[in-house]
Symmetry: D2
Subunit: 212 residues, 4 copies
């Protein structure tokens, strides 16, 4: 079984992005007991390139599962995103992307569906995280920034090209170190988030094995 | 030109729902200068009945425009909702509906599209409100409670039955009086919200006239 | 009876400060029915000068009542401050004062009392505002920025020099117009805040008349 | 050197209070390297009794340092409280104390000072926590509920009876497990908070040794 895991470079004035460490942690972690082949990819925070790079990797690697990860500073729990929307719009975020793009109300794919549901087992995952002592919740908006862009681009692609693939997006809160100079920021420790991501991966693998 | 305007009864422990006053204010207000025929309907906060009642009214009245209004206590500005999602789920809200229904992850329409965009001119409306001194923003989630339920049910119906109809959902913040015993609640005055709703209606009528 | 009313110039990246308009509104408003002589003073957002200017005016004008007003962007209701603390510290705010001063843990007055209560009838005022439909609450911190600085300097002075004077600080939320380009900001309309300030003044005058 | 450390029982609808575990963790932890004699006391959430019990323990144990700990659900970082105020008032909290007392604007001690500063080295502690990777900040209000009540009662007592004692209050955020069924709650892990409390204790001991 093959898993493609993506994260992002820092953006929006933050000097770190915890998803970068999470990719490294998953590479260091042994999924050999479940014979999982793991590829990771760190994406740029740029509206179009992030999707193109991810999909190029998908075509090359042909994964069974794609889990894209992003930072949502200000959220308190691990957020399993339910839906991606066919819009690029920076209004809700206060910053441009890393190449200073500021799209307003632009469709990601002309004539694409308005919304696309995650095909990850988000409820099973959320319940499993909570059972394991990790604050988690299903989120009903991934925003209209880069994270939604990757989620939509990926879900649109697999809907058309590889409908059996389980794919979705997970938003992580700021990590503890990010609050050291901004004490009002809610955080989770990076180790807890790494444990969360292991459980998300394992639960998704189990779901795929059940489906087969 | 015919406009159907809906609001909701109180819910979730609130004793008032400002959308009830807003319906009354729109009935009192004269739209005769633009020959607009206005019908209003106050919906129950119940997952299935709210949609059934609204759609029955739509079939009878055959409106050109449908604007559904709801309360989102905690929000600060008039929220033009961008998208409805095909899910009933009470997790994000802390209360059941008014008949104590607590659905989890239930599709509103089996095999319906995952998401459906508002067909109101939400960006033109948002800009117009701001030009007129009213805090407004496009929202990317109407939640998964009753408000999303009405929005999805309505957009799904018109997509299939009356594709030219302009329809969408507007979330209003708590009104000033609602903060008198809960001073941490952000509010807008009911008069400002009534002026916002007039502008939303007029902007949508102008859009429809342009479309024709 | 003589009342000194102070407000502040804009600060912290805001281009307006609603207390400036509130001073003007109180000057325009007739308090002649209660024979109130009103002086207003607009203070600079600078740690030491703001207090010096206010106290110079107090010595010259010899007011019976001093009500100092400030902006607390992010708050939702009219905030009657309960206590000033003997500290200048910019940590809790994200900006320096308007001359780029960034004091840390500096006493406002060496060997001054740690805290000083407002001598305004803050509970009577809060109740009166709420009865009149205005969201209001007693606040237990005026921060450690300029507003607290003015409140402490003023209360310390009158405690030593004119113990009968009623004096205190009121924090106002952002005004509606301030949210036009920042829709997540909670607001109150400037007219409602002007009505609040009239009631605060009248209630304090009545209290002073009762005390005599 | 003798340290008295206090925590609280659960309150306000929470079934746990992390300060209870923190007391246990400090008892389990070895401070033998610094010859620290540690007593802990779990206080009831009742306005008057909490202070009486703490002061009875102070009189009996004669500590050099008193660190009182409380829960402030909703805060994000370890909060070193700067000041206690001479008021019991439940407005800012939404719940009564555990015996259903709801005082309004009642002085804790008749004719006591309005405010009393913590005598802990709060800035040195805050800097030390941050250097050690723990989100921390000085807070300028401990509220007007039980926590402020204990802080004021204790500081008032030592000011009169034992001026050399270092005493103060630390508010801790909700612990991770408290967010499992309320995912919007910001949290810190209990282990990180225990490490914070060790550092708070060690830094205070060092300060006292320097003072002597």
């Amino acid at each position: 079984m093959k898993l493609l895991l993506s994260g992002f470079e820092p953006f929006g004035g933050h000097t770190i992005n915890p998803t970068q460490s999470l990719l490294q942690a998953m590479e260091d972690y042994s999924f050999t007991d479940i014979s999982l082949e793991l590829h990771t990819i760190l994406l740029p925070v740029h509206y179009d390139e992030c999707v193109e790079l991810l999909l190029a990797e998908v075509e090359k690697f042909q994964p069974d599962i794609i889990i894209a990860c992003g930072l949502a500073a200000g959220r308190t729990a691990v957020n399993l995103e339910r839906i991606a929307v066919n819009i690029k719009d920076i209004e809700a975020s206060s910053y441009a992307d890393n190449r200073n793009e500021r799209p307003q109300d632009i469709p990601i794919r002309a004539n694409g569906p308005d919304g696309l549901f995650s095909t990850l087992p988000i409820r099973v995952i959320t319940d499993r995280l909570i059972e394991n002592g990790i604050p988690a919740v299903i989120s009903n908006t991934a925003g209209t920034f880069i994270c939604n862009n990757v989620m939509y681009g990926m879900l649109d692609y697999i809907k058309q090209s590889s409908p059996g693939v389980l794919a979705g997006f997970v938003h992580f809160p700021a990590s503890t170190e990010m609050a050291l100079h901004k004490p009002s920021l809610p955080t989770l420790p990076i180790n807890l988030m790494a444990r969360a991501l292991q459980l998300i991966i394992r639960t998704t693998v189990e779901q795929l094995q059940k489906d087969e």
